[in-house]
C-alpha cells in the first residue's frame, strides 16, 4: 500500500533581482516540475540529484513546510500542507544541515521534552530511548548541551529525536553530509536495521551513491525539477552505463594489464586504472589481478552521482 503518493507535483519560486536602476525583475524559477511517484510502506528510497535539483523542496512539501504550487500529494492519507501538525505526529524529519534539537539544552532534556510534546506514553518513551541510546551509542552524550556536540554526534542525536514517537515514516535530508567514514557506516547500518526491524518507511536525500548502495532498494534521480529515473540502483547503473574503477599499483611498470571484463583507461608508471560496469562485482577482477600480477595495492572508485546523471542523459 502506498503511504506516499505524489501526482504531478509542481513548485515554483519567484525570484526578484535588480533589473535596471529602479526596476526589479520578477522571475519565476521552477524548482519541482511535475513529479509523480508512489512509495509503499516499508520501502527505503534514495532521492538523489545535483544541488538545486529540487530534492529539498520536494521533502519540504512532503513534510508540509512548503505549500505546493500545484499537484496532488498524500502522506499516510493526509494532505501535508493542510494538515501539517497532524502529520507531524506520524513522521520523523532530520535535516542534515541544521538541528531540530534545542541548542542549549542537554540531549537528555531535549528528548524528554520531545516525548512530552509528542505525547509518547512513559513506558514507550523509556524503551524507545533505551533502544536508541544503545543503537546510536548516545549514552556518553546525554548530558552534553547540543551545541557542544560534534557534527556526527549531533546527527545521531537528531535521528534519535526524530524516532522517539515511533513515526512510520522517516525523512532524512542529507543525513551523511559532513560525516566521517566511520560515522557514515554506522548510520547506514542503523537505518538498515530500523527498516528491517520496525518496517519504517525511509526516504533520504543524499549526494553520496554509497549511501544508496548500502541502504536503498530503490533510487529516484531528480534533475532540474524532473524525475529522470526511478528504479533500483543496479538498473540505474545499467541504464547509465556507469562504470566503477579499480586503481591498482603494480610491482613494476607494465603494459596495460589484461583482465576479462575490464578495460584499462589510464596508465601512470606502475599505477593503472581499470574500469568495469558498475553493476558487476569487483571481487573476480581483484582476484584475477592478484593471481596474474604482483599487486602492491589497490582501491575501488565509485562513480560520482553527477557522472551517473550525465550518462543517464547520454543514454537518452
Amino acid at each position: 500500500m502506498a503511504v506516499i503518493e505524489v501526482t504531478d507535483l509542481r513548485r515554483t519560486f519567484v525570484v526578484r533581482s535588480k533589473g535596471g536602476r529602479l526596476r526589479r525583475e520578477r522571475r519565476e524559477v521552477v524548482a519541482v516540475d511535475g513529479v509523480s511517484f508512489g512509495i509503499d510502506a516499508g520501502e527505503v528510497v534514495g532521492f538523489i540529484g545535483p544541488n538545486g535539483a529540487g530534492k529539498s523542496t520536494t521533502i519540504k512539501m512532503l513534510t508540509g513546510i512548503l505549500v505546493p504550487t500545484s499537484g496532488r500529494l498524500h502522506v499516510d492519507g493526509l494532505d501535508p500542507s493542510r494538515r501539517r501538525t497532524e502529520l507531524a505526529r506520524r513522521i520523523g524529519v532530520v535535516f542534515g544541515h541544521r538541528s531540530g534539537l534545542w541548542w542549549d539544552l542537554p540531549l537528555r532534556d531535549s528528548f524528554a521534552l520531545l516525548a512530552r510534546i509528542y505525547d509518547v506514553p512513559r513506558d514507550r518513551y523509556r524503551t524507545n530511548l533505551a533502544t536508541l541510546v544503545e543503537l546510536l551509542d548516545l549514552a556518553p552524550l546525554l548530558d552534553v548541551p547540543v551545541r557542544q556536540l560534534s557534527l556526527g554526534q549531533r546527527m545521531r542525536g537528531d535521528i534519535a529525536a526524530a524516532l522517539l514517537h515511533d513515526p512510520p515514516i522517516l525523512y532524512l535530508d542529507e543525513p551523511t553530509i559532513g560525516l566521517d567514514l566511520i560515522s557514515k557506516a554506522r548510520l547506514r547500518d542503523f537505518l538498515r536495521d530500523l527498516n528491517a526491524e520496525r518496517g519504517t518507511t525511509i526516504m533520504l536525500t543524499t549526494h553520496d551513491l554509497v549511501d544508496i548502495e548500502h541502504i536503498c532498494r530503490r533510487v529516484m534521480v531528480i534533475d532540474a525539477g524532473r524525475l529522470v529515473f526511478d528504479g533500483d540502483l543496479t538498473a540505474l547503473q545499467r541504464v547509465g552505463g556507469a562504470t566503477r574503477t579499480v586503481v591498482v599499483d603494480l610491482e613494476t611498470q607494465l603494459e596495460p594489464v589484461r583482465v576479462p571484463g575490464t578495460t584499462v583507461t589510464r596508465v601512470e608508471g606502475p599505477r593503472q586504472w581499470l574500469s568495469f560496469p558498475a553493476h558487476s562485482s569487483a571481487a573476480p577482477i581483484v582476484s584475477a589481478l592478484a593471481a596474474a600480477y604482483d599487486v602492491v595495492d589497490l582501491s575501488i572508485q565509485e562513480p560520482a552521482i553527477e557522472d551517473v546523471i550525465r550518462l543517464l542523459y547520454a543514454a537518452g
Binding site: 519560486f13 519567484v14 523542496t57 519540504k60 513534510t63 508540509g64 513546510i65 512548503l66 505549500v67 500542507s81 501539517r84 501538525t85 497532524e86 507531524a88 505526529r89 513522521i91 524529519v93 535535516f95 544541515h97 541544521r98 538541528s99 531540530g100 534545542w102 542549549d104 539544552l105 542537554p106 532534556d109 524528554a112 521534552l113 512530552r116 510534546i117 509528542y118
Partner: protein, 267 residues
C-alpha cells in the same frame, strides 16, 4: 488552545529546569536585572530633584505611569520576548524544524529559551508601581481597582501583540529585530513619561496606530482623575481591554499571514 498552553508550559519548564542547574548564576542574573532597571528609574527621580512636575505630573504619578508600562513590557518580554530570535531562525533554517512538530510554531518560538530571570524587570516595575500608587493622590473606588488590574493584563497583551507583529514581520523580512525593538523597548521608554510632554501627533499614533497609550496613559488619567490634556474622549480611559483585544487580533492575523507566506514562498 489548551494544548498550545500545555506545550508552552512544557518547553518553558525545560528551560527553567536547565537554568536552575546553575542556581547561583540564576539568582545573580535576576537580581542584576532588577537592579539595572532600578537605576533606570533612579534617573527619572534625579530629574525631579530639579523640577517639581513633568508635563503636569508629579514624581509619584510618573512612577505610576512607569510602573504600569514596565510591568506590561516585562510580562510580555517574559512570555513572548524570544520572538526576537525569529529572524535568525528563519535565516538559519531552524524555523523549518518548528514547522514539522505537532505544536504551533508561535508557541515554540515564544517558549524557546524561556528566561525566568526576566522576572527581575517585573519585580522592579511592581515596586515602582506600588510606590507610585502610594505617592499619588488617588481617590480609590472599586471601579478604579478593576481598571488598574484590567490595565496590567491588557497592557501585557498589547506588548505581546507588538512582539508577535514584529515576529510576523521577521518571518517575511528575514531580519527586523531593530524595527521590532523600536516598538517594544522604544515604546516602553516613550510611555514611561506622561504623554502630555509629546506633540499631539505622537499621542494620536500611540492611540490609534500602535495602541501603546492604553498600556498606562489613558487608565492613569482615570485613576488620577485628570482631564485629558489633548481633549480626547474620556471613554478611551476604560478602553484598554478593547485595545488589547484589537491588537491581539491584528497580531494573530499578521502572524498567520506571515507563516502562510513563508510556506508559500519558501523565503
Amino acid at each position: 488552545m489548551a494544548s498550545s498552553l500545555r506545550a508552552y508550559g512544557l518547553i518553558a519548564g525545560a528551560w527553567v529546569r536547565a537554568s536552575m542547574t546553575y542556581r547561583a548564576s540564576f539568582v545573580a542574573m535576576t537580581v542584576g536585572q532588577a537592579l539595572i532597571t532600578l537605576i533606570d528609574f533612579a534617573a527619572i527621580a534625579i530629574m525631579f530633584s530639579h523640577i517639581d512636575e513633568l508635563g503636569g505630573f508629579t514624581l509619584g504619578e510618573v512612577a505610576l505611569l512607569y510602573g504600569m508600562s514596565g510591568f506590561a513590557l516585562g510580562a510580555a518580554d517574559l512570555l513572548m520576548g524570544n520572538t526576537e530570535q525569529l529572524g535568525r531562525r528563519v535565516r538559519d533554517g531552524s524555523f523549518d524544524a518548528m514547522l514539522v512538530r505537532p505544536v504551533a510554531p508561535l508557541v515554540q518560538i515564544a517558549a524557546d529559551q524561556f528566561a525566568l530571570r526576566r522576572v527581575g524587570r517585573i519585580t522592579q516595575a511592581v515596586a515602582v508601581l506600588g510606590w507610585g500608587l502610594a505617592a499619588s493622590n488617588i481617590d480609590w473606588s472599586v471601579p478604579k481597582v478593576l481598571v488598574l488590574l484590567a490595565t496590567l493584563v491588557s497592557g501585557s497583551v498589547i506588548f505581546c501583540a507588538v512582539f508577535v507583529l514584529g515576529g510576523a514581520f521577521q518571518v517575511l523580512a528575514g531580519d527586523a529585530t531593530e524595527v521590532m525593538n523600536a516598538f517594544t523597548y522604544g515604546g516602553n521608554t516613550l510611555t514611561q513619561f506622561p504623554l502630555s510632554i509629546y506633540p499631539a501627533e505622537v499621542v494620536r499614533s500611540v492611540t490609534f496606530i500602535v495602541p501603546l497609550a492604553f498600556v498606562n496613559w489613558y487608565p492613569a488619567l482615570y485613576l488620577l482623575d485628570v482631564e485629558d490634556p489633548f481633549g480626547l474622549p474620556s471613554a478611551l480611559q476604560y478602553a484598554s481591554p478593547v485595545a488589547a483585544v484589537l491588537a491581539a487580533a491584528a497580531a494573530a492575523v499578521a502572524w498567520r499571514a506571515g507563516v502562510r507566506r513563508y510556506r508559500s514562498t519558501g523565503s
